[in-house]
């Protein structure tokens, strides 16, 4: 086991994310909660969309007039909802791109994430169709322009005998049926989007779909304020006999139209399909080998379900124990889903290092870094340390670079994820001579394996099984979030522990002296 691995994630994005931490705190950082913010935007779209639909007239002649009536007065609810619906769409597009870029830069497309990545890619055409199709409904100059451009774009595919574009030659040829189709496309596609988004979350357990209250409040307020201060203008109704010289244009959504008229329909298809194919191909490219999956030892599994509860990717299921009988259960790992994070190993009650067995066998364990090898490293490290009472640092390999804090009095034990640490190891280290234990993980919403930091904190704070026992002196244990790039936090925490150790030592000596004085 090496002490560091290739930095997971991209330094530039990480820098941005950590910069945002300073304003929002890591637990409320929008860049760490992009998926949840997307769901928030969707909720805003649903509410405002339903409001608009209630006043919408699905007919050629009535459509624009109905939207115009709704938005007539700048200070009406209709005007607010219209602007909010538009700006939430723009936010949705921006946040989708950020979410995609983040996962892309962090290399989150391979192996156990393949399904999440591909289902994410599948969401893109739905988002595009729902957003562009919304403009047609308003049936103003922009809506007409977008409908014609979309029709001309689709006509470039050899799909239909009759060009769609012919629908927009003459006002007389427009039918109410076309508007029913528009509504069907817009609402139908956005509801399908929910379905695909649900699919998108099938492989992650306990997906964070709600932003923190502060973030939800701030984001909604921003969109509301924008809607009030800069309401979406009501342009002229569609006129098939004219192409307006200049259109107030929503670049976030309608850029494919501009791209098409600057190049050609087939060129635009080429660009869009090539980007889509490139994204979809990523999970199939050769690259880093897959981490070994967790392995269950039926002899040592008592069926407590902790690994099942804690697995961030739903890779553990519980089955009837084949030999133990009497309703006992056994954990079963689906290697295809397993991230190899070790969070299950940290959850298993069998991982108590105090057992005096020669070889520690866990109910569920990581072949690359077993709890037995961890205990061995801990024992030998403490024995070999030149410091009388060293500090033990359990450090996540994805987090702050622990090689930067190498010192004689620090024993560093790297973990696949901080969640791999069975809390009993903390107590064991302290009993075996460590002055203090520092557990370094990533931030709540920065864990490479999603839930590792959260479960580590909960276990050490005795809020989740397996708990760090109440008898352990909390002053000698510290849990710290320090991600790659935040090595200074590690250094500071170690210094503080040393100082505290020295102070306690001093006090103990004074106390000792008083006893005998």
């Amino acid at each position: 086991m090496t002490r560091t691995i290739a930095p997971s994630g991209n330094a530039a994005w990480r820098w941005l994310e950590q910069g945002f931490d300073r304003a929002f705190g890591a637990s409320g950082n929008p860049l760490r909660l992009l998926g949840a913010l997307l769901f928030l935007c969707f909720a805003v779209l649903l509410v405002s969309g339903a409001w608009l639909y209630a006043g919408y007239d699905t007919s050629v002649r009535g459509a624009h007039a109905s939207v115009a009536r709704l938005t007539e007065s700048r200070w009406s609810m209709g005007a607010l909802m219209h602007s909010l619906h538009r700006y939430a769409t723009d936010a949705f597009v921006i946040l989708t791109v950020l979410h995609l870029v983040r996962e892309l830069l962090y290399g989150h497309w391979r192996h156990f994430r393949r399904f999440s990545w591909l289902s994410g890619c599948a969401l893109l055409p739905f988002i595009g169709a729902a957003a562009i199709g919304g403009f047609w409904l308003v049936w103003d100059e922009l809506g007409l322009f977008s409908a014609v451009a979309s029709a001309e774009w689709l006509d470039a595919l050899p799909l239909l005998g009759e060009p769609l574009s012919r629908n927009f030659l003459r006002a007389a040829a427009l039918s109410d049926r076309l508007f029913s189709l528009f509504v069907f496309v817009h609402i139908g596609v956005s509801l399908l989007l929910v379905l695909v988004a649900w699919l998108h979350l099938q492989r992650v357990s306990r997906a964070v779909v709600m932003p923190t209250r502060a973030l939800a409040f701030g984001t909604t307020l921003s969109l509301l304020a924008l809607s009030v201060l800069a309401p979406v203008a009501q342009p002229a109704p569609a006129n098939l006999a004219r192409i307006p010289a200049a259109l107030s244009f929503d670049w976030w959504v309608l850029w494919p139209h501009a791209l098409m008229y600057a190049s050609s329909a087939s060129m635009t298809w080429g660009i869009v399909l090539a980007m889509g194919a490139g994204l979809c191909a990523l999970p199939f490219l050769p690259g880093a080998p897959r981490a070994a999956a967790a392995v269950v030892d039926p002899q040592h599994c008592n069926g407590c379900r902790r690994c099942f509860e804690d697995c961030p990717y739903g890779a553990v299921s519980m089955i009837a124990h084949p030999t133990a009988g009497h309703g006992r259960e056994l954990a079963l790992v689906d290697a295809a889903l397993c991230a190899g994070c070790g969070i299950c190993a940290g959850a298993c009650p069998s991982a108590t290092p105090f057992r005096s067995v020669l070889q520690l066998v866990n109910g569920i364990d990581m072949p690359g870094l077993t709890v037995d090898s961890l205990r061995q490293q801990l024992r030998e490290g403490l024995r070999a340390s030149s410091a009388p009472r060293p500090l033990v640092l359990f450090a996540c390999l994805h987090g702050a670079d622990s090689t930067r804090v190498a010192a004689n009095d620090v024993l560093v034990l790297p973990l696949i994820c901080s969640g791999q640490l069975p809390p009993a190891f903390v107590e064991y280290a302290l009993r075996d001579g460590a002055a203090a234990v520092l557990v370094a993980s990533c931030h709540d919403y920065g864990c490479e394996y999603r839930l590792g930091a959260r479960w580590t904190g909960a276990r050490l704070n005795a809020q989740r099984e397996p708990q760090l026992r109440a008898g352990v002196a909390r002053s000698r244990v510290q849990w710290l979030a320090a991600e790659r790039g935040e090595e200074a936090r590690l250094v500071a925490a170690l210094d503080a522990l040393r100082e505290r150790g020295a102070r306690d030592g001093q006090r103990a000596m004074n106390g000792h002296g008083a006893d005998h004085g």
């Binding site: 304003a23 700006y87 921006i94 030659l169 921003s222 979406v232 192409i243 904190g457 704070n461 849990w479």
Partner: protein
């Protein structure tokens, strides 16, 4: 509540600087959305330009006429298909030519659609032309056995800037329309 407590472990107590930072970032978010949701305006056409949409949906004449089958031809067919007259279903392509001020602006030959070539031919194209008075000539041919353009129209039209002129074919009345 347990999870909220955990969050507290990593949450920095936010100072006034952080709140200011949040306000600035939310403002930036709204600004970026607001600005590019309607600016810069999109100019689809250069000034003083009109658009001609030339579009036809028309089924050409059968490519070859019906003919009496000879005895040998009939014998070659399976018994259940021995009809004495054969009418090939394949249609002629539709050819449209557009001249503007005497110069060729479009020459389009659209093959019939359908697997056996028995469907309508479809044409849709748009041209940007300078506004003003223009001499428009359109010719349409729908019979592969006749090299002449059976339908034609010549007309002077005054195109206003940003106007859309639609050139279509009305098969029912057999005429090319400009509107």
């Amino acid at each position: 509540m347990a999870e909220a407590d955990n969050h507290a472990r990593t949450r920095h107590t936010l100072g006034w600087r952080a709140w200011l930072g949040q306000a600035v970032l939310y403002g930036l978010f709204a600004l970026v959305i607001g600005v590019f949701s309607h600016w810069p305006p999109y100019r689809h056409l250069p000034p003083d330009t009109a658009v001609i949409k030339l579009s036809v949906l028309h089924t050409g004449k059968p490519k070859s006429a019906c003919h009496q089958l000879s005895a040998e031809e009939l014998a070659a067919l399976p018994p259940n298909m021995r009809a004495p007259v054969s009418c090939p279903r394949e249609r002629s392509p539709v050819v449209v030519e557009l001249d503007i001020d005497g110069a060729a602006a479009a020459r389009i030959a659209a093959p019939p659609s359908g697997l056996s070539g028995d469907g309508a031919s479809a044409i849709y194209t748009r041209l940007a032309v300078a506004a003003g008075e223009r001499a428009i000539a359109v010719r349409l041919r729908d019979d592969a056995n006749n090299a002449d353009f059976a339908y034609h129209i010549e007309q002077r039209v005054t195109l206003a800037p940003a106007q859309v002129l639609v050139i279509d074919f009305d098969a029912e009345h057999g005429e090319i329309t400009l509107q």
